[in-house]
Homo-oligomer: 337 residues x 2
Amino acid sequence: MPELRKDYVTDTWVVFSAARAQRPGAFRGGKSTTDPEKCPFCYGHEHRTPPEVLAYRKDGVPDGPGWWIRCVPNKYPALQVEGEVQRRVSQLFHSVNGVGAHEIIVETPEHEHHLSMQSEFQVQEIITAYKQRYLDLIRDKRFKYILIFKNHGERAGASISHPHSQLIATPIVPRRIMEEVNALNRFYESTGGSCLYCEIVETELEEEKRIVTENESFVCLSPYAARFPFETWILPKAHEMAFEDIADDERTPFARILKDTLGRMFGILDDPPFNYYIHTAPCDRKETKYHWHLEITPRLTETAGFERGTGFYINPVMPEDAAAILRERVKLSDKPS
Amino acid sequence: MPELRKDYVTDTWVVFSAARAQRPGAFRGGKSTTDPEKCPFCYGHEHRTPPEVLAYRKDGVPDGPGWWIRCVPNKYPALQVEGEVQRRVSQLFHSVNGVGAHEIIVETPEHEHHLSMQSEFQVQEIITAYKQRYLDLIRDKRFKYILIFKNHGERAGASISHPHSQLIATPIVPRRIMEEVNALNRFYESTGGSCLYCEIVETELEEEKRIVTENESFVCLSPYAARFPFETWILPKAHEMAFEDIADDERTPFARILKDTLGRMFGILDDPPFNYYIHTAPCDRKETKYHWHLEITPRLTETAGFERGTGFYINPVMPEDAAAILRERVKLSDKPS
C-alpha cells in the first residue's frame, strides 16, 4: 500500500509508491517507451493495460480495438484504489495511507499525434472523457481532490510517448489548491463577494499585453508572475467554479483555445516538453469559492538549488514578451531585442 | 534592472532576470561549459569573471592565479547589487525591484574535482568562505535573506562544470523559509520553548532507521517525508540558529560529514546530479526561532504535472531504504527486495 507522509515542519506532502519505481523511465536515464510495437496504448495492445473503465467506440468489444478514446487504470499507480483512508499522527510523524485512483486517458489511437494536431472533434472528446471520469470518481467519498493533467515529452516526465492524459484522485486536498482556495475566500470576504479569478480575467483583458488569445467563452493569458518561460493559463471568462460543470456548448470553445494554444507553442518553441493540469474546486464543494482554469507550463529551463531552497522561481522571459511572441506566432530568435 | 513579482493568488515569487537568458545553458538543450580551455574558473582565466570579492591565496595578486578559493560576482546575476528596494502594489500586481547579490564561490582551482574528493582542509576552507561572504553581505540592510547553494551536474542546473557554489541575497524572505520560521514559532509557543528541529534530531537519533551517519556535532539523516529519492539533511546536534555563527572547531566535523555524505552518494548513485542549500535564519534575527541545516537533493527523477499541479511530490524510494543503502554503502541494484 502506498503511503502519504507530511513533512515534519511544513505542509508538504509526499506520496511514497514502490509501484512507481517499477515503471519504465522511473529514474532519469531510463528510456521512455516510444516504439509503437511495444506501446501499450496502440490498437491491438489493449491487453497490455488493466481492463478499461471507459471507452468511446462505435463497434467492437471492450478491451479490443475500434475505440477513439480509452481510459484505463494506471499499471504503475501512485495511489491504490482499494482500502479505507487512515490517518496516523505519532510524535512528528503524520501519514495517510495511499488510497486514491490513478487513471490514464488515451487521447487517440494514433501513436504520434500531438494534441494540437488532433481534430476539434477529437479534442472535444478528450474533454468529455475528462469530465466523465471526473464525475464517476467524485461519487467516491474517500477522494478529496481529483487532478487531471498531461505530461508531454520525456523531460516533462512522460514515460510513454503515445498521447495520453492522467487523472489522480487523492485522499487529502493538495496544498496548492488550499492556498488558492484560502486566497479566494479572503478576497471574497474583503471585497464583499468578488471572485479573484474573475478580477484577474477582467484586469488582464483591459491591460491586453499579457493576453495570448481569446474566444467567446475563454481567455488564454501569460500570467503576471509566470514561474516558467511561456507559462500560460486558460480561464473561463464567466465565473465557473468547477471544470466538471462545463456545459456541452462550452466544450467546443474550450477545445478550440486549448488546441490553438498548444499549436502556437508547438510551432514557436519547436514541440517543447510541457505539463498541463486543470485546477478545479475540491470534491467537497461546501463553502468553497473557486474558478477553474487550466495551466500550461513548458519545460524549457531547469529549476536548481536556488528554487529548491527558497520556493522562488527564476524566469528569464517576461510574460509580456512571451504573450507577444505567442500572439504574433513569431519565433523567439526572430524577435528584435 | 531585474524584477520580482508575486503571483496574483498565492505567495509565490518569481525573479524576472533578462541577464539569466544570456548565460550558456540558460535554456535546456544549451550546453554547459565543460572544456577547461573555455572555463572562466580555471587558473589563468581570472579576467573572464568580474573582479574577485574574496580569495584565499598565499602569494600573488588579486585576480591572478595562486588562489585555492576564489569568490566573484556572478557574470549573469539573477539580482542586481545597485539601487534601492522599491515595492509596488497596484491592483493585482505586486512587485519589488530586483536588488540583491549573486556571487560564485569557486571551490578549487582543479577543473574536475568532486567536493567529496577534496581534502578535508579544502572543504573546511569552502565553509569558511561561505561564512565570510555571508558575514560581509549581512551588513547590507537591503538584504532580507542570503541563500548559499550548490548545483552539481547539468541536470541540476549547473551551467559550468568546474566545482563552484553560489550565494544569492534577496530583498524579501523566501516563502520556504517563512513557512519553516512560522512552524518553528508555533512549535515553540505550543511546547513552552522547544525547538522543532532539536526535536527532529533527538527523535530520529532514537528511531535510528533514517540515520545515515553522525559525528560529535552533526547528524545526517534521510527525512521522514523526503521529497526526492536519497534526499538527505545534515543538522547540527546542538541548537544553533544560524549557519554564519558556526564556531571554528565545528567547521572540521561539518566538513567531514558533508564530504562523507557526498562521497556515499557519488559511489552508490554513480555521481548523481544534485543540489544542496543551507537553510539559516533570516538576516533580521529579531524573535526568530531557527535551527540551521543543509539539505541535499539528488536529481534522479523528473517532477511532472501531478507535482506542479498539486505541490505534492512522488518519491519511489522510502527514506528508510535510502538511509540503509547510504549507511551500508550498498549499490541500489545489490539491495535484496
